[in-house]
């Protein structure tokens, strides 16, 4: 075999670019701060929710820009990013909560199990039962624990008798891990529970109307570490039955509870990936800067 001067000699150390190609194909930080196209696998073969070219405008201001993202069945996806990045705005698109904000306009397509959720013919009441939401601050109704949970099934006509309604309430409270703590005081005010219990009551209220997707907007930000751990355990258990999208400012919480993580920055979806990859080897410099506490 003839040797040429261009050949790579095995005994000479090769530059890292060669190693990258050999070992993994990409450098963890392959995209600089100016790159704004989404990095990573934003779409899923098992999508329950599909978002395509989603933009949200508050008046003339575009809050989120051309977001393409799937949320898969039985996954927990964490939406992270600095304040004002658009993650909560995006979350609220998924059950049309933005409709309640004056001057807010949503463009693009959002499909739930293949059917569009935006359009004049879509009734938002069943949609919001199908896609339930848990907010940052626990917001139980000023009613009894029982009535907080019973309200949804009653309004949506899910229970045909009082006993069936009771079964709905017990099942939902059990699923939310709250039954044992409140079963002897179901007719006391929900507002009398601790913050963590109130949040689980809100989750029970969401579950009671048989949703398919649960949206959580910083559900633990007002809770102590034990109450937070109980909510995180609950999220883990609920994943077998529901699809969950959670907005959180806690990197550790995102790392603990989610299977996929999406990083937003100034209205752009910067990077999506397996949570383990995002928190060990992010590919976009902005993701790296944010999760390591370098800005935001």
């Amino acid at each position: 075999m003839n040797s040429t001067s261009d050949e790579i000699h095995p005994e000479e150390p090769q530059p890292m670019t060669a190693l990258r190609k050999k070992e993994r194909g990409t450098n963890p930080i392959s995209f600089g701060r100016d790159h704004r196209d989404t990095v990573g696998e934003a779409l899923s073969e098992h999508a329950r929710i599909q978002c395509r070219n989603v933009n949200v405008f508050y008046g003339n201001k575009r809050a989120i820009l051309d977001i393409n993202l799937d949320v898969a069945r039985n996954e927990v996806i964490a939406l992270i990013g600095p304040s004002g990045c658009g993650k909560s705005t995006f979350l609220r698109c998924l059950n049309r909560m933005n409709d309640t904000i004056p001057d807010c306009r949503v463009t693009g397509d959002i499909l739930m199990d293949g059917a569009p959720i935006y359009g004049d013919s879509v009734d938002v009441v069943p949609l919001r039962a199908q896609v339930g939401m848990v907010f940052q601050k626990p917001n139980p109704f000023p009613k009894s624990i029982f009535e907080n949970v019973a309200y949804g099934p009653r309004v949506h006509g899910l229970a045909s008798s009082k006993s069936e309604l009771g079964e709905f309430v017990e099942k939902s409270l059990r699923r939310a891990g709250l039954w044992e703590e409140v079963k002897d005081r179901l007719h006391q005010p929900g507002t009398g529970l601790s913050g963590g219990q109130q949040q689980r009551l809100c989750i029970a209220r969401t579950i009671a109307v048989n949703p398919e997707v649960i949206l959580m907007d910083e559900p633990c930000s007002a809770l102590d570490p034990i109450a937070t751990a109980k909510i995180e355990q609950l999220i883990d258990e609920l994943r077998s039955d529901y699809t969950i999208a959670i907005v959180t400012h806690s990197m550790q919480q995102a790392a603990r509870v989610s299977q996929r993580t999406a990083y937003f920055h100034m209205g752009h979806l910067i990077e999506v990936g397996e949570t383990s990859q995002i928190f060990t080897q992010p590919r976009h410099q902005l993701t790296e800067d944010y999760i390591t506490g370098r800005f935001g």
Partner: protein, 232 residues
């Protein structure tokens, strides 16, 4: 390497990550002295030098324990992720390897201790020259590998990895030469076995240096180069 450490909003975090690198550099500096002294003792046996090596080994062990404590504290306080996590993992593994290199320096010192007073044989001079050659390669590898934690350079890291391949070949050749000496003169078995132990320690040192280079690549590039996966 400081590029990936600096810039946190909470600037104290920069300082604590920098301190982890400082630990590797301090420990590495001591380790290089240990190996250099072990090779000096090998060349010119000295009971005093051997004792100094054994005494300094206590410092090496103490530094490893202190490094582990610093790493535990940093994980508990900052829950590092991304490149910060890679720094912590890299330093944590590096101090273990550096402690292992310290053990090898003491092993060489102990072998030299055994040889003090044994009459010179005809194989001693050529064998010692060969092993001193291996020693220079080991010193060069570990110095370069430790230096990566101060100023990272991928070519240097890859050279350190290649050095171990070279050392592995040299070590096998040395064993064959020692067996040949033994076949020629069986009265030198004790000496030959001790020389094989020294050669083996030097081979282990370059292996640890290779590990350090791989950790530095993992830290800087996020690439996990496990043994055998990198084939140029």
């Amino acid at each position: 390497m400081n590029d990936i450490i600096e810039g946190h909003t909470y600037r104290r975090y920069d300082g604590e990550l920098r301190h982890l690198h400082r630990i590797v550099l301090d420990m590495g500096e001591l380790i290089v002295i240990q190996i250099s002294d072990a090779l000096r003792a090998f060349h010119s046996p000295s009971a005093e030098l051997i004792q100094q090596i054994k005494t300094r080994e206590i410092d090496v062990d103490r530094m490893e324990v202190e490094a582990d404590a610093e790493i535990s504290r940093l994980i508990a306080r900052y829950s590092p992720v991304g490149s910060d996590l890679r720094v912590v993992i890299s330093v944590s593994k590096s101090v273990t390897d550096l402690e292992g290199i310290g053990d090898e320096a003491v092993r060489i010192a102990c072998v030299v201790d055994e040889l003090i007073g044994i009459p010179l044989s005809k194989m001693q001079t050529p064998v010692m020259e060969e092993i001193e050659g291996l020693g220079q390669l080991a010193i060069s590898s570990i110095s370069d590998a430790v230096g990566l934690f101060d100023l990272y350079d991928e070519k240097t890291a890859l050279r350190v990895i290649e050095n171990h391949r070279e050392m592995d070949g040299e070590f096998q050749s040395e064993l064959r030469r020692l067996m040949s000496y033994i076949r020629d003169d069986s009265t030198d078995i004790n000496l030959a076995l001790n020389m094989a132990l020294v050669a083996k320690s030097l081979e282990r040192i370059t292996h640890h240096a290779q590990n350090l280079a791989e950790y530095s690549i993992f830290e800087m590039e996020g690439i996990d180069l496990r043994e055998g996966q990198y084939k140029p």
